[in-house]
Symmetry: C2
Subunit: 348 residues, 2 copies
């Protein structure tokens, strides 16, 4: 029998219905992600095609004398938001409010290699990607007109990506996003009631229970949330309370790179290279010092399609128990050679 579970961070309900995994599928199964060459001449993110992107805003070079690069950040050529236009909100007739598409939209090109997904990169390379995330986040937040900075990654066609070269994106908006507004409200109400951070307390509770914990590193915990919206949804939560990703101490980047790479690697192995979305959930730039929020990473494998029920109700139906998928993900780490999945094997 299925059950309904309420996510304590959103108060939204999820239907967990493992029976539905057995339903007949007429849909033809394709390979999740196709085989790719190491370089693709038609790819604007491959080395040699640097002129096809706007000018870099950040780069990590191979060495100081070299023109080769390891990570590049460029403005998105087809930006959803740009630095043109102003912040004014105006009524468009009696009912509707609008403003110009002010903001920023950047692409983090994660590696010169066209065909190395983040899950298979070295720890060092993933750390460089995270350095770029943090650097751009903190550079953009200096513009006080940018209220919210979201970093995300679409991997594989089913995730909504339009290019396959390993890349992430950053969008800075002049408005508070509705999902943050809602999560902030929930956490703020919790704080008003209990006097502490919802996520800190949740983390302590999950660590005590243990059944949804995939791995505990020194500074970060990997878990499958109680009300997972999709099978194998994976959260990485820092133990240190910080509302904003921008306040992540630089000395924690190396461990976060290990934990992130190991998480993606286990998903890659267990789900046969799945498409996924990765989002960094963080506070607005104005709420950085708040006791109410707690930044974290959400990884959402795209094994199924968001359909009419989810779009109409806001309730997700998942076909897997997070206790079960967390156990399988932990086992995956144990089964690997000693030198792989290091962060999942460390003793805290």
């Amino acid at each position: 029998m299925s059950e309904l579970r309420q996510d304590p961070t959103t108060r939204e309900w999820v239907i967990i219905a493992p029976e539905r995994a057995k339903r007949p599928q007429q849909k033809p199964k394709g390979k999740h992600v196709e085989e790719l060459p190491d370089r693709d001449k038609s790819c604007p993110f491959c080395p040699g095609n640097e002129s096809q992107t706007p000018d870099e805003v950040f780069r990590i070079p191979v060495s100081s004398e070299d023109s080769d690069w390891e990570v590049r950040v460029v403005p998105n050529r087809f930006a959803a938001l740009t630095s043109e236009g102003g912040m004014a909100r105006r009524l468009d007739g009696h009912f509707s409010r609008k403003m110009s598409g002010f903001g920023a939209h950047e692409v983090i090109i994660e590696s010169p290699s066209h065909n190395t997904p983040t899950a298979l990169m070295t720890y060092q390379q993933v750390e460089k990607v995270l350095i770029a995330y943090r650097q751009r986040y903190n550079a953009l937040k200096k513009n006080r007109q940018l209220k919210f900075i979201i970093i995300f990654k679409n991997y594989g066609w089913a995730s909504g990506t339009s290019l396959l070269h390993p890349h992430s994106q950053l969008v800075a908006t002049p408005i508070m996003t509705p999902y943050y507004h809602h999560r902030f409200n929930v956490a703020h109400n919790y704080y008003a009631d209990v006097g502490s951070c919802l996520y800190c307390d949740l983390l302590a509770n999950e660590l005590e229970k243990g059944e949804r914990i995939v791995a505990e590193a020194k500074e970060f915990v990997v878990l499958h949330p109680y009300a997972s919206r999709v099978p194998w949804e994976t959260w990485i939560i820092p133990k240190m309370h910080r509302a904003s990703f921008g306040l992540l101490p630089a000395k924690h980047l190396a461990e976060l790179a290990m934990v992130l790479k190991d998480s993606l690697f286990c998903l890659h192995r267990e789900l046969d290279n799945p498409a996924y979305n990765l989002m960094i959930d963080t506070a607005t730039t104005e709420d950085e010092e708040d006791p109410y929020y707690h930044w974290h990473i959400r990884i959402v494998p795209r094994l199924t399609t968001i359909a009419g029920f989810e779009m109409g109700s806001g309730i997700y139906i998942s076909t897997a128990l997070p206790e079960e998928t967390a156990r399988l993900m932990k086992q995956c780490a144990i089964s690997l050679p000693e030198e792989e999945c290091l962060s999942f094997k460390q003793k805290v």
Copy 2:
């Protein structure tokens, strides 16, 4: 340049960025929906395979002596929610709330024909589908434990369907859904301020402006919303104020069938048989008589994939102006032979 628009029914912002329609796509383009036979022996919804579904809860027979049917409604064999279990909500540890998967999940098989999409059905057939929707809605709402009844349709693989035979679904939940909760709040606040129904006022305003109106029939209006989340998002709004779909007068069903079929037919022609989701947005069974809400139908073509930005922020990026798509859809109706798209051509 892009712009941000706020949806007056949700207060959520959408980025309208027509420039992004030009970005390079490496993704291989498949046909939206494949060619199908009129009957498929392996399809559980085709005539002759009635024993593969649970027993019918509703049927429209071809004639009273006949075992043939035109519409069937059956419980979903792989139901997300069932009539087992109770309504009790309990704390699962300190943080988490759960309840058993109580509710109902039904399938409306729209036609014996395996390969006639709703867009190409006769007006009479679509009316029978709507009769089934309304009948099941009103039958289920008598169970006071079912708080919310959502009817929806997933058409084409990109919509998340698992079977291609024309069908819709109905899910009845013991909880208020988060999207309704949010939309109700917005409409309730509007009522508190202005003293009238947000949707009634919005409709009057749109009819006065006219630029996003696709068609106006006697009882229903078809429009593209000001802050369309996706290109060609289409709403059908009844002129008569009713919070709940269950209170739609039976005498309006024939016109709604025409308006719905004509809407789907124009989308089918203009977008080359697109995948789409259709949702009936309605009040909870407890709010049926409310002045605050106003049921309506939303049709969401799935031309793009919901990606990390939407999942992380709740902000959608659309690449088309609704004024432009509404104009194209109106033109489509004008270009058709006189006997097609009747409801879009009528003079009110």
